[in-house]
């Protein structure tokens, strides 16, 4: 009997959480047709995009390099200059750039947003905003979400270039490829759809990362421990949702 109670209560909690997130998302979307705090949006674009660039760049560079080595040694080394450059370019632009960039930004940004908004919640700063005629969805949530949607594709665009350059660097330095031939092959095999699909994914990931940070921060409870829990939940849920939505988008964009 106890097992039914536990399953029942888990289902109810899941539905409650889903409903609460749905309402939270609707309120965020509704705030897009109200007042826009451009200064806050700009600040968030700097915080989410510009300040994440070094870590995303490093991740992409090393991923591109590692991918080049894996393809070279794992496959047929005949005609490897063409194969390595094309697979690195496709792999980075279609999958690894947006997904790894998204995961890295999720760890950095989603946690920071959840911690900041969570602290504001438990110290009554969000209530204070309301008493000062300011809607926290317009002032706090929407600027972060729109900044994430705009900035992530730009960040992933840089990640694509740096990742391809990582592959090129390893190819030229370690695998004795001709640098200009490598780049020519990359240009031949890479299509605009490969890049655009990655940027579309990045935009969706930007939405997921910022929404998860805001949502978990907004419902923080119980002081420092509660804020810590929200931060962890924000990172875990955004990482899982990035991977899940990536699979769905890959299916939609490429399977057809």
């Amino acid at each position: 009997m106890k097992i039914f109670t536990n399953v029942g209560s888990s289902v109810i909690n899941f539905l409650k959480e889903t409903g609460r997130f749905f309402i939270f998302t609707l309120k965020t979307l509704k705030s897009s047709i109200s007042k826009w705090y451009f200064k806050n949006i700009f600040q968030q674009m700097i915080s989410i995009g510009y300040l994440s660039l070094p870590v995303v760049a490093l991740t992409s560079f090393f991923t591109g390099g590692a991918l080049a080595i894996q393809i070279y040694y794992g496959g047929n080394q005949f005609n490897s200059e063409v194969i390595v450059s094309s697979i690195v370019a496709l792999g980075i632009t279609r999958e690894l750039g947006p997904v790894l960039g998204g995961i890295v930004v999720a760890g950095r940004v989603s946690a920071a947003i959840a911690a900041e908004i969570g602290t504001m919640k438990v110290t009554e700063q969000i209530d204070a905003l309301r008493t000062l005629s300011t809607d926290p969805f317009e002032y706090l949530v929407f600027p972060r979400v729109i900044a994430g949607i705009i900035v992530l594709p730009i960040l992933v665009g840089f990640a694509d270039i740096i990742g391809i350059m990582g592959g090129w660097f390893v190819g030229v330095q370690s695998l004795d490829f001709n640098g200009s031939v490598y780049l020519q092959n990359t240009e031949i095999f890479l299509e605009s759809n490969d890049i655009i699909s990655g940027l579309i994914k990045a935009s969706v990931f930007g939405f997921i990362i910022t929404m998860m940070g805001c949502y978990h921060g907004f419902f923080s409870q119980g002081g420092a421990q509660g804020v810590g829990r929200s931060t962890m939940n924000a990172v875990v849920s955004s990482s899982i949702l990035i991977l899940g939505s990536n699979y769905i988008m890959t299916n939609l964009l490429f399977a057809s």
Partner: protein, 250 residues
Amino acid sequence: MIEINNLNKKFNRNEVLKNLNIKIEKGESAVVIGRSGTGKSVLLKCLLGLLRPDSGIIKIGNKNILGKNLQYSNNKSVKIGMLFQGGALFDSLNIWRNISFSSLQNKVSEKECKKIAIETLEKVGLNSDVADLYPSELSGGMQKRVSLGRAIFSEPDIIFFDEPTTGLDPITADVINKLILEKVNDLGATALTITHDMSSARTIASKVYMLHEGNIIWGDNVEEMERTKNEYILQFVNGQSDGPIKIQNN
């Protein structure tokens, strides 16, 4: 000016406010006292529209504002100010931006906002040196003063104070109490304070209400509070553990 009738609020099965009734006249400085956990903060949050009561009537002026955020409801006829227990100053903004936050959002120029914010700082006994500092650079007492400055910045008709002296030493607490009294009188505002600090209640209140088990069980002026034989008031004012107020889980 503030009238609450039959206000009820419960969390799951825990009834916090039970048919609560209170009427605060215009210009009155009401203080609600009561033990921790009796529903004082819930009452304040219901009044501010931060919590939605289950039932009842909350009238500000003649309008029923039950469940509405006082500021969102575009109730332009009544301006409110609020001093939170912990100050609730915005960490990311400096002091003058904290004080003039509402005007900054309404496209008043930064220069004008800073000028008025510095004047407000002077009203609460702080000089212009602190204007460009951040909340974390101020002491607890100074943060409370800034928070008071933010609450009175828009010259509100009603000001709410949530435990204004919590966490302050007795001397700083007295300074804050006197500042509250002075500013409320200057503005001619209606004030509602919730506290369990009796010295604060004695300084600020023109009328004291006792909240117990979700309802107002006593209400009168400060002089009457000192004379009353009401056992609940006597126990609370004298800080005794023996009496009609039962202490649970102690």
